[in-house]
Amino acid sequence: MNRQDLQTIIYAEKAKELNNKYKHKLCVCCGASCISSGSEEVMKKLQEEIKTRGLEAEVEVVPTGCMGPCNQGPLVKFLPEYNIYQKVDCSNIKRIVQSQLVDKKPIEDMLIFSDSRPKPFIDAREDPFFKKQMKIALRNCGHINPEKIEEYLVHNGYTALDKVLFQLSPEEVIAEIKQSRMRGRGGAGYPTGLKWETVYKYVSDQKYVICNGDEGDPGAFMDRSVLEGNPHRVLEGMTIAAYAIGASKGYAYIRGEYPLAIKRFELAIKQAKKLGVLGTNILGTTFSFDVEVRIGAGAFVCGEETALIASIEGKRGTPKPRPPFPAESGLWGKPTLINNVETFAGIVPIINNGGEWYSDIGTPKSAGTKVFALAGKINYSGLIEVPMGTSLREIVFDIGGGVQGGGEFKAAQTGGPSGGCIPAEHLDVKMDYESLISLGSIMGSGGLIIMDQSSDMVDVARYFMEFCMDESCGKCVPCRVGTKMMHDLLQKICDNKGTSIDLERLEELAAYVKETSLCGLGASAPNPLLSTLRHFRHEYVSRIEQE
């Protein structure tokens, strides 16, 4: 298919959407969480009910990706009114259809957050949970059917790829990304444009693009939701990257624990190939790019880029010393670009709206938006996207609705086992890369776990150390032995058998492991320990004094 064919299809799809015979679009959240709560059954019953009432000519029922507030699921959204119903089960479908579609009156006590707000917002966009958010990476997630490429096309899908292929040179694409000041969303925050430029500069007969979807941080599920809710966005981002750096082959490495994400991404690849926006001679140009899915097999260390490469090669996922960096010698020794799912999801809007637009969002050093997975002791857990620099207080209290059960906020854990805890006195911290580092934590992939007074911080440190101990690949001594020793010392303190010497030894070990480990797993493993020691030292000391 060439460029004209694609444009013809897009125009046809848009015309179809404009002349849409349906008066209402009914989105049923079919993200993994809502499916677990029974949304597929709800969708079936809704379709039946609409058919029985003879409404199928004016109501379209669409399964979509994640809408955000996961613990209120299953969620059903009525468009164009933007009425979202929460905790829908098969028994109240008749009532919802009757009121919403026949009487045209939303049922207030079943709308989203109606059980916790004094008065629910009829138009869900007015609710602080949604109003305070800004969706770039998650745009269209929860709005379109992720299993239909046509719906993606209607929402300007593959226009960025068209622009890149016909209007921009690879250098210009890289310049645009550099101008956006976007930083890698996988955790380390390395400037994306710079990474692309480095890979671009290496001359090789073969280069690779890898999408890192090995979301191993416990408590983070944004990559999952993006892959499930808008897979074409990631695929288009990967294709643009391939054009920019000169790659012809790509791999999407997705966690084995995410079967739905794998299924939808594989379907997206198939549809894109059929449409001619992926594969040989994309849109009639000389540019060819193919993508294959590789399924992870449950190893946290494979989120580290060199370990991930080893895993794609079918080997044990152990990291290699860097340099050489993958940009120079990656997959099968060839220059390789590795970016996170969320990074690729942000490429398309940057190309469409320009790098300058993106760089104006967020803070001077951290541009754009960040997706956080809000969970733990919080009223509204789920997936949110906010501009960088939004304060933790706004996220927890305005968007998240405060601590569950009216408890007191004690700490927020960011960055998973590589991150740290932010105590209550720093609630006003602006969430960006530098501020979190200055507090002894990291942005990480965006897991944000809220803890109340019932959480024991020494046990939290022990929990994360146990995780790192189990997940250490065993290749280098500091990480393999150090995490075990630190874990045992933490266990001893948890059991009230620790001494002040143990505490000293812990701090000493933490410094050694941090400095001497081969890869990021070991180097960041002491972070949860060090940050709880920094902000909650009294909890450790009180354990020791009890002895």
Partner: protein
């Protein structure tokens, strides 16, 4: 451990063997597809029996050490049966904060099984997961294929018993 040469041939008519053979062929006998092939094998058998591993080793012309070291490296692969029914308790951070340990303790009290153990009649296996990514539903338990959301210690045992008694 037997050498590869003496590996017992698997019955070629077994649909599971056919499935693995087809996957190996689809991947063009490439050794770098080892993990993909192991996924297929584990999905077919529920775990990785030794003779299946030997079969894969032979087909891909890899040293047995390479296959064995890869299998044992990844948590996803198991060398022994996980039981007819599996109860997977998520121990991700959100589930940890919301009491996953209490659920594990309750399961241990009721069924005398710790994570990684299978009951003597092979009916039930208990496992833990690092994070199943359903943090909004914490604490979560996956019973066979079904995700149980916001699980509490009072009825988890009954739910497991109900599952076991069905078959």
């Amino acid at each position: 451990m037997d050498t590869v040469q003496s590996a017992p041939d698997l019955p070629k008519t077994d649909p599971r063997v056919k499935l693995i053979a087809a996957k190996i062929k689809k991947e063009n006998y490439k050794p770098d597809a080892l993990i993909e092939i192991l996924h297929t094998a584990q999905n077919a058998y529920g775990y990785l029996p030794m003779n299946v591993l030997k079969y894969i080793t032979k087909a891909l012309r890899l040293p047995p050490s390479r296959v064995f070291s890869t299998v044992t490296f990844y948590h996803f692969f198991s060398l022994k049966s996980k039981g007819e029914h599996t109860c997977l308790v998520c121990t991700g951070t959100a589930c940890y904060v919301k009491g996953a340990q209490g659920i594990l303790n309750e399961i241990e009290r009721q069924f005398a099984l710790k994570p990684g153990q299978v009951s003597t009649d092979n009916k039930l296996g208990v496992q833990v997961a690092r994070c199943i990514g359903a943090c909004g539903l914490a604490p979560a338990v996956v019973l066979d294929e079904e995700v149980l959301a916001k699980v509490n210690t009072t009825d988890i045992a009954d739910k497991i018993k109900a599952k076991i008694s069905v078959s």
